[in-house]
């Protein structure tokens, strides 16, 4: 660092009268003999003199009274507008998760289990595997149509649906339960398959 840089670093402290006696003497002798630093310091001092002499801003004469009124208002009213506490995020998240869980658990027996593996429970406790539905192949123009347009009636549900009527034990001559069969029809059990 040359002497001029060193001198410039001391400008502020010199202005503030915060230099040691040795620094002051050194700087003053440098400024007296340096044609670069002397005008620079003069400019520096003039800048700060001008800053210090800027006219002061006047405030309203009734500021004390106004401030008192505002201060009274501020001490009686809450400092800030009351805001309702934000709803915790975990509540809707947990509710959604719970609903999803219920939905998934309800669909679970039907998701991922091939139809062929599903078991149909008969009324009397017997279990029977359900067969896959298949399209009834027919000859003719209908069979060559788009699959998407195939209506439900084209499926054969004969092995899928079984209606088991309540078994009614009929005794010749006198029935234990009043028969709902049409007159003249006799039987022990009626099973109708489609």
């Amino acid at each position: 660092m040359n002497r001029c840089d060193q001198a410039r670093r001391l400008f502020g402290a010199y202005w503030d009268d915060e230099v040691t006696q040795a620094e002051r003497e050194w700087l003053e002798s440098h400024l007296a003999g340096c044609p670069t630093c002397r005008p620079q310091y003069e400019q520096f001092a003039r800048t700060l003199e001008t800053v210090g002499s800027l006219p002061r801003t006047d405030v309203a004469a009734d500021l004390p009274e106004r401030a008192l009124v505002a201060a009274r208002r501020a001490t009686t009213a809450p400092d800030r507008i009351a805001v309702a506490p934000a709803k915790p995020v975990w509540i809707p998240v947990t509710a959604t998760a719970a609903l999803l869980l219920i939905g998934v658990s309800a669909l679970l027996p039907w998701i991922g289990t091939p139809v062929g593996q599903r078991v149909f429970a008969h009324h009397d406790g017997r279990q029977q595997k359900m067969s896959e539905p298949y399209i009834v192949r027919t000859t003719g123009p209908a069979a060559t149509g788009a699959t998407a347009a195939v209506i439900d009636s084209l499926f054969d549900h004969s092995e899928d649906v079984e209606f088991v009527l309540d078994p009614v034990v009929l005794h010749r001559g006198r029935a234990q339960a009043p028969s709902r069969l049409p007159q003249g029809v006799q039987g022990e059990q009626a099973v109708i398959s489609f």
Binding site: G12, L48, S53, L54, T57, V59, L63, R66, A67, L68
Partner: protein
């Protein structure tokens, strides 16, 4: 301040009267805005009253009130930057022209008066362009005349940082005003 802390309203208005000039000037110089000085100065004193019980007895009241004013000015600068409603040079010129007649030297010629007015206007504008963190330290030191230790307390910074900020601010200001000062020095 002790009486203010005990809810003495007359003491409060007296306190405002005593410090309103310095607080208003600090805000005006930092924000370069005359129009809103009254409102902002009022806000400073409202905060003084609201937080009167937080004031530590024995500490310097001017340091406390300047801390509140400096924080409010900083918040205001940030709010204005967000709203892109930065400093109004017209307002400062108006302030300067309003205040100049009171300070004008009666022996000064019209030409000299205009020159001084020009220089003060340029200085005010130059201060407004110094970055906020340097500007606050500069205004507290070179306009309000606070000691470095007090500025450090007001800004909540170490003394060394305050000194370096003031030096940098002065350097920036000098560079900005160099052309004008050279022109004035020329015969």
């Amino acid at each position: 301040m002790g009486r203010v802390a005990e809810d003495d309203e007359r003491a409060f208005t007296e306190l405002v009267r005593r410090f309103q000039g310095r607080v208003g000037n600090l805000i005006s110089r930092v924000l370069n805005d005359r129009e809103n000085v009254d409102d902002l100065a009022q806000e400073v004193f409202v905060r003084v009253f609201v937080h009167r019980r937080n004031y530590r007895r024995g500490s310097k009241f001017s340091t406390w009130v300047f801390t509140i004013a400096a924080n409010l000015a900083k918040n205001e600068i940030r709010r204005r930057v967000r709203r892109r409603n930065w400093f109004s040079l017209d307002a400062l010129t108006e302030v300067l022209s309003d205040s100049l007649p009171q300070l004008a030297d009666p022996t000064e010629s019209r030409e000299q008066g205009l020159e001084r007015e020009q220089l003060q206007g340029a200085v005010g504008r130059a201060i407004a362009t110094v970055p906020e963190k340097y500007r606050l330290a500069l205004v507290l030191r070179d306009i309000e005349g606070l000691a470095y230790e007090e500025i450090a307390e007001v800004l909540g910074l170490p003394g060394g940082t305050v000194r370096s900020r003031i030096n940098r601010a002065r350097g920036m200001l000098q560079r900005k005003l160099q052309p004008l000062l050279r022109k004035q020095d020329a015969p």
